[in-house]
């Protein structure tokens, strides 16, 4: 066999192998996705056609000889043969023009195709496929699904370990920080944490029933530390006097009245995701439109699992 063919085959194999490996090991992969498959097919075509053509013409440089009738003119010593068109080229050009005219007039005339229509179909198919897959998962699988949502949607802010990246967003491994509690008590809270407009008053609306007065600075510090420590240490009396009426004696909240502040609950997380939140650290965007109910449930389960 000619060295050239060998080189062509080797080059083609290397490029194809490279493509195969990169697709095979790429985490997207072919994935049964028709677009992925066509793209790879396109890549393979580029390699094969390019190499075939190079080999063909290099062969001609090696073995053929130039001939033909020269035209009369010559420009700065450059002559021109009056050779006919290469057959393959002429046929290919002509056929493609015929194909193109057919395609645009008969095959897919002006409004024959709608990319939005295609999108709608794909989306319905996608949603159906996955709705059946996850509609009744629960427990660990739900948490797993929640983790996958978290890693795609939330980790840019909360960090890969959900630690809030040095206070840039809430640390979700822990229910709440001293600063956050203090902020809520000082400023009140109106973040739809219960899924409805149920606000917590600011310090000017918080009575300590033990003292019969508005909550004081010292008491705020104490109760903040108490809550952030998971309801332990000093400040229990302030909590009982000022907060328990809404949040319950144990801080676990009461339905329709106040949220659980000792532990995350899937509902609370879902509400934060749906309505966003503005607090001591900053603003958490509302991601309501980006996730469906199941995804919210799942990410809620995942976050809740983190601080257990």
């Amino acid at each position: 066999m000619n060295k050239l063919y060998l080189a062509g085959i080797i080059a083609a194999s290397l490029l194809l192998l490279g493509t195969y490996l990169s697709v095979g090991t790429s985490e997207g992969g072919l994935n049964g996705d028709i677009v992925n498959q066509l793209a790879v097919l396109g890549a393979v075509f580029i390699v094969l056609i390019a190499i075939f053509v190079v080999v063909k013409y290099v062969r001609q440089m090696q073995t053929d000889t130039a001939d033909g009738k020269l035209a009369d003119e010559s420009w700065d010593g450059i002559g021109e043969y009056k050779n006919e068109l290469p057959m393959g080229w002429a046929v290919a050009f002509f056929s493609l023009m015929v194909w193109g005219s057919w395609y645009m007039t008969l095959g897919y005339p002006v409004n024959a195709y709608s990319q939005i229509g295609e999108y709608n179909e794909d989306t319905v198919a996608h949603n159906e496929k996955f709705a059946t897959k996850y509609s009744d998962i629960s427990g660990d699988r739900l948490i797993e699904m929640g983790e996958s949502v978290f890693l795609a949607e939330c980790k840019v802010c909360h960090g890969i370990n959900a630690d809030g990246i040095d206070g840039k967003a809430a640390n979700l491994n822990k229910r709440i920080s001293v600063e956050s509690v203090k902020h809520q008590v000082l400023n009140g809270s109106n973040n739809f944490l219960l899924g409805s407009e149920m606000a917590m008053p600011d310090r000017n609306g918080l009575f300590n029933m033990n003292s019969g007065e508005l909550i004081s600075d010292a008491e705020i510090d104490a109760v903040s530390a108490y809550v952030a420590n998971g309801m332990s240490g000093a400040g229990a009396d302030v909590f009982a006097g000022a907060c328990a009426s809404c949040h319950g004696d144990d801080g676990k909240g009461m339905e329709f009245v106040a949220p659980n502040i000792v532990a995350f609950t899937p509902e609370l997380v879902a509400n934060v995701v749906t309505y966003g939140k503005k607090g001591a650290i900053g603003r958490m965007p509302n991601l309501g439109d980006r996730l469906n109910a199941k995804q919210k449930e799942a990410v809620g389960a995942y976050i809740t699992s983190l601080s257990k």
């Binding site: 790879v40 130039a66 700065d76 006919e84 645009m104």
Partner: protein, 497 residues
């Protein structure tokens, strides 16, 4: 008198040759910096964080594309025009004082524009449209320079001795007309100093600032009608002009087929323009415009290949020349890369392939197949051929040229293979859903996987730049170190060891 060879005047060609080399070094150096910035973001602050405003990726990227396209490539086009034009029309610029004046005016005005582009882009003055970043005062200067070039083209044609236009001339004329039309329409903009408020005051803010005449999707359509054809009439058509002259000239072979030249030229002219919509596939422009663009892109393979095939067949039976002359190697590999990118482009223009390829590095890979392997190689080959004739000295070193060839070839291969893999990997990761139907990757996951490929690309780009520096050195030595050749040089360029 009639029989004495004409004394061509290469003054202007020489000036543009220097510009080509200088701007090539700048443009490629910036490209290498960009490549390293993506692989190692610390490079953004390479000159210290104080000047990072001017050295970070986003400020430098337009500088790379403009320096390399409107600096390096365009100077190369002008340099070869002022060389080839005289020779195939058989007139010397020395015969007309006016043409000499226009040529020099052309060069100096051009340099002024280059300088103002560098300054404004570094200062962040840009309209953001790709390959059309310049604000209106520069646009006006560009139009003036273009008109000057046009006068010099048609002036030379006006006094020509050779009645019939050689193929290269067709392509130079098309370059002139195409860019003129595209540039004017894409740069329709209104200076904001005209904005007048209710009490008749105007002239607020930066005087150079303007606003596009077109909005949104329309602006996009005009921009990519321009952008695509700027590639056509800036990175393809004039380069074809070069190869049609320099390959047969250097090899002493006659063009394989006039008919093929003819059909490829008019085919290219006709088909190219329609394909602009392939930059907007799956965007909000009408479906039929996209379909039309895909179809014409596929057809476009043939007129593009026509020229390349014509060149390869011109070398039929001349393998020993390819094997022995690095100069011819550049041109043969150049036409091969031309074929490669004009096959790759159409395949990327197919809707489903574009769904993956668009927005990824696969496109960047395609860009550099064409620009490094075709545009860069052809411009360097042309200058190599011109140098002995312009400076009347043999090329300083053939072995240096051969070394350069292999270094740069390796550079291009590393560049496009790494971007090929990077692009396909990223495109697929963006699309991937996991078993629960959620997105499998957050965006940053699709960035960090690219690190090794970005590193390989940076290495490949560095090799290419090193090759270009060798080229510059070789030309510099040619000018200064070799003995003067008295005889009129025919085909194969003389080269030192």
């Amino acid at each position: 008198m009639e029989n004495r060879p004409l004394e061509y005047d290469y003054t202007v060609a020489k000036m543009f040759m220097f510009a080509t080399i200088a701007l090539g070094i700048v443009g490629m150096l910036v490209g290498v910096i960009l490549a390293f910035e993506l692989a190692f973001p610390g490079v953004n602050t390479i000159l210290g964080s104080g000047v990072a405003e001017y050295t970070n990726f986003s400020r430098l990227r337009p500088l790379h594309t403009d320096a390399i396209i409107f600096g390096f490539t365009l100077s190369g086009i002008f340099a070869t025009w002022y060389y080839v034009g005289q020779r195939v029309l058989k007139v010397s610029m020395a015969e007309s004082g006016l043409l000499m004046f226009l040529g020099k005016l052309h060069f100096w005005l051009y340099l002024v524009i280059v300088a103002s582009v560098v300054v404004t882009l570094l200062a962040g003055i840009t309209t953001s449209k790709e390959y059309a970043e310049f604000e209106w005062p520069i646009d006006i200067a560009v139009v003036i320079v273009w008109v000057v070039w046009g006068m010099s083209i048609f002036g030379l044609i006006g006094i020509r001795r050779e009645k019939s236009l050689y193929i290269s001339m067709w392509y130079y004329i098309a370059t002139f007309l195409g860019i003129a039309m595209l540039y004017v329409f894409n740069n329709m903009e209104i200076p904001t100093i005209l904005g007048t408020n209710g009490i008749g005051e105007s002239g607020f803010g930066d005087w150079w600032h303007s606003v596009s005449m077109y909005a949104g999707a329309n602006d996009a359509m005009v921009q990519w009608w321009y952008g695509h054809n700027a590639v056509a009439f800036g990175l393809t058509v004039p380069i074809v002009a070069m190869i049609y002259y320099f390959l047969p000239k250097e090899s002493g072979q006659a063009i394989y087929s006039y008919k093929l030249s003819l059909l490829s030229f008019w085919g290219l002219m006709f088909v190219y323009i329609w394909a602009g919509g392939h930059h907007l596939i799956y965007s909000t422009i009408p479906d039929w415009v996209q379909t039309m663009a895909s179809v014409f892109s596929v057809i476009l393979i043939l007129p593009s290949w026509g020229s390349a095939i014509n060149m390869l067949l011109t070398m039929k039976g001349e393998w020993q020349q390819v094997a022995s002359s690095p100069l011819i190697k550049f041109m043969v590999l150049g036409s091969t890369f031309y074929m490669f990118s004009t096959l790759e482009g159409p395949i990327q223009a197919i809707k489903s392939v574009n769904a993956i390829a668009h927005f990824t590095d696969w496109i960047v890979g395609h860009v550099h197949d064409g620009t490094l392997g075709w545009v860069g190689f052809m411009i360097m080959a042309s200058l190599f051929h011109m140098a002995p004739r312009v400076f009347k000295r043999e090329i300083y070193s053939k072995s240096l040229m051969a070394t350069q060839f292999w270094i740069q070839t390796l550079g291009v291969v590393l560049y496009f293979t790494s971007m090929w893999i990077a692009g396909i990997t990223q495109g697929m990761m963006w699309r991937a859903h996991d078993e629960f139907g959620n997105l499998a990757y957050s965006f940053i996951d699709t960035v960090t996987v690219l690190h090794p490929y970005y590193t390989i690309r940076a290495v490949g780009g560095t090799l290419y730049l090193v090759g270009f520096l060798l080229f510059s050195y070789n030309i510099y030595k040619t000018m200064s170190a070799r003995p003067v050749e008295e005889s009129e040089l025919q085909n194969a360029s003389p080269m030192g060891a």
